[in-house]
Subunit: 113 residues, 3 copies
């Protein structure tokens, strides 16, 4: 069975759960915030989606962090390091890319249920 | 068991099936087409690979859409919205990136069998 | 059960194993090397992580190759083609992106155990 949590548009889901895997994506709702704050906000949304999916931070397998300007990676890292469950650190890649509008980070996560 | 559908080069597969998951990637075969047409063409190829893998559009879990110019996201979205099974919307991220040659979009999909 | 192989920082893992899937990421340890050499080095690290995870090159499902300059894709391809198990070719996407510091390629792999 596939369970889908509704996203910002009817043609996309915020999270999808299938068997024992959860796939979710988040950006910051506040587009005027700094790299640090946008990362913190996006990670809070990830937390929320994972809880709704009966998963959680400690069960994240992978995270791909897309960042609009690699020069600000340290700010993103600061929010990540404060947030992450260091006993259960995900595989992570940080990739510089063009994001929509004023999004500074977009985070795609795969977790275990 | 792992099943692999042959790709454009012998060192890559167009799709890989393992247990109940299907992984596939597509670009448009026509590199002179617009963002709208290239997206439509790439999605048609995704459809074809999913059918060959005993999956289908309604069983897509995630899609990462890489786009050569974020300014054209609305054109890509138009093709996506016409194509998607809105009752079974995938998690999706759209990422601006440099693609090969005249590719305007490249789409990586994970689906359930 | 989720098994995590330690990465370069305590807040990230180099590889994560869950059920029958392995997720791993690598860059070249030598940042002064060419595109060809950095790809070769990153793939050698992927090999090593997969062995530690009781998987291997022949069981790779997908690879996303992020490349700092798409003009050098042929060099990356040369290293890939020499390395890949052509009887078991992964799904692969090659995406031009901004990488950290002098990283020229970063490779994210999903494999079967």
């Amino acid at each position: 069975m596939i369970v889908r949590l509704p996203g910002s548009a009817p043609t996309r889901s915020r999270a999808v759960i299938h068997d024992n895997l959860v796939f979710t994506v988040a950006v910051s709702p506040d587009k005027t915030a700094s790299y640090y704050e946008q990362t913190k906000n996006a990670l809070a949304r990830i937390d929320q989606s994972l809880v709704e999916a009966d998963s959680g931070k400690a069960r994240i397998l992978t995270a791909i962090v897309y960042i609009a300007d690699m020069q600000h990676k340290a700010e993103m890292n600061r929010a990540w390091d404060e947030w992450v469950d260091a006993e259960n650190a995900p595989m992570r890649a940080c990739i510089g890319a063009v994001l929509e509008g004023n999004d500074l980070v977009e985070i795609v996560v795969t977790a275990a249920k």
